[in-house]
Amino acid sequence: MSHHLPVLLVVIPLVAAPFAALVNRPRVSWAIALGSAWWALYASLALLRQVMADGPIHYALGAWAAPYGIEYVVDPANAWVLLIVALMGAVVTPYARLSIEREVSRDRIPLFYAAFILCMTGLLGIAITGDVFNVFVFLEISSLSAYALIALGPDRRALTASYQYLIMGSVGATFIVIGIGLLYVMTGTLNMADLAEILPQLEANRTIPVAFTFLTVGITLKLALFPLHLWLPNAYAYAPSAVTAFIASTATKVAVYLLLRFFFTVFGAAFSFDVMHLDKILMPLALIAILTMSLVAIYQDNVKRLLAYSSVAQIGYMVLGISFASVLGLTAGILHLFNHALMKGTLFMAMGCVMYSVGSVRIERMNGLGRAMPWTMAAFVAGGLSIIGVPLTVGFISKWYLIQAALERGLWPVAAVVLIGSLMAVVYVWKVVEVAYFRDVDPDEGVTEAPLSLLIPTWALVIANFWFGIDATATVGVAERAAELLLGVGP
């Protein structure tokens, strides 16, 4: 049983998804989704523990040995990402039950949960596989179900947002296939470890940089790096709240992982940074993303949209960490994957509670909400503090490492931009806080606090925000191991 854990982690949710659609009873479908999400959490925790203790796990699918068979490889880097996806799935699913009942029509709920499980399966699959074509297949599983999930949003603009995401996402995925195809034609293999061995011998070949470029553009489209982020704000703003909370905290993180995997494991840091000079393009884009997207976030009236722009800025922080190509920089980036999932999960789930009770997340409807919904808004403030980077929150830990990494390279202007980004976060979080706490309640609104089944998952994330902000030894430990592994300097 435990020997087959890597494949069961993916297969059990994959098999559960059609059942969730077929039973056609909302509560049963939800229970199936909950079961698969909690299974994934259990399995990914077990895998992470095993990997940290005994080193990477290689699992040959159907006992067909690599490089001909498909291989699942679990090492500290992707065990970490698996845990992020599974954890967010396990927290969001209990939350989804009431939130989705309010936002999605009843007859579509079983299909919703089927798509939700598939989306999670796809993301887990991307993270665990050691085969580049398998990456594409899982990428499409997660993307197609994400388009469907977003289109279920209560506003009709969810449809156009989903369509836009579908077009841009498919172009990104096709670029990735072209890159994979060019790699295959030069090397004759699809296995990541095998590619990593063969590629250095082909460095002078002109096809390899082309493949590299296609992959870079395709993946950065998927992870919404400025200026390829255009699909993201609308998709996050109009999707059902539970979907936004899940996708915002996992989908872009998995794409960042893919970036790491291709640049560091498949191509190798030497090729990516010394030959292709990736840092020269990633760092400016990340800095522009942090500054401009934080600025745009300040001017948003729809709070989910505000948080979406803030997400693009936060992706900038992750990519910035990667662009240093140092152990400290990568640690900061990988740490921020997890930390950002916690804080954006909290913020979007708090907005889901507002959506549940108020029926809108426009800022003008939030007058005095701090009194009407004290727990929800307190969670929002906690998430907000984290995104600003106040000490004792996870946001502080990420930024601390990021600034250290920048100073290690002697790039103090970059460290300054990180701090300016934090100050801009103060402005957009304050915008919501001011309306919620310093304005009078509209007397005819009659808003009450969100139910417990929404508040408990939200507060679980709030507690995690502080827990891992106060004692970061576990998270930093894993992130450091992952960074050393990706750079090939670790044990």
């Binding site: 594409f136 197609l144 072209i178 195809g181 295959y184």
Partner: protein, 117 residues
């Protein structure tokens, strides 16, 4: 003629550009999906072409025939998967267009943009 040996690759590049251009330049949501299809088809041809080996036959092993050159079947298998994905993407995209038409009464991008603001 120069480059005729790479005829398939020229076709791939031509189709890729036609599809990508349609995808970007057209305002009609259905035409965009068609553009996406053409774009993806070019990638299918790219994969199928790279599996072909000059003088290679279908990869069926027959005992007694040792010195036969086979074409590489793996790209074909890979692209079967990609074709399925392409069909699913088009189906989802077109059904979204239907729902957009029901909700907004138009599938022209510029008119939609005015209504979304």
């Amino acid at each position: 003629m120069i480059g005729l040996g790479l005829f398939n690759y020229w076709v791939v590049i031509f189709l890729m550009m036609v599809g990508f251009y349609t995808l970007i330049a057209r305002g009609n949501l259905i035409k965009k999906i068609i553009g996406l299809n053409v774009f993806q088809t070019s990638v299918f041809i790219l994969y199928i072409t790279m599996g072909k080996i000059t003088g290679g036959t279908a990869p069926i092993f027959i005992e007694g025939q040792e010195d036969v050159v086979y074409s590489n079947p793996i790209p074909h298998v890979l692209i079967l998967t990609a074709i399925v994905v392409g069909v699913a993407t088009s189906a989802l995209g077109l059904s979204l267009v239907v729902r957009i038409n029901e909700a907004f009464g138009t599938i022209e991008e510029d008119e939609l943009e005015e209504m979304v603001q």
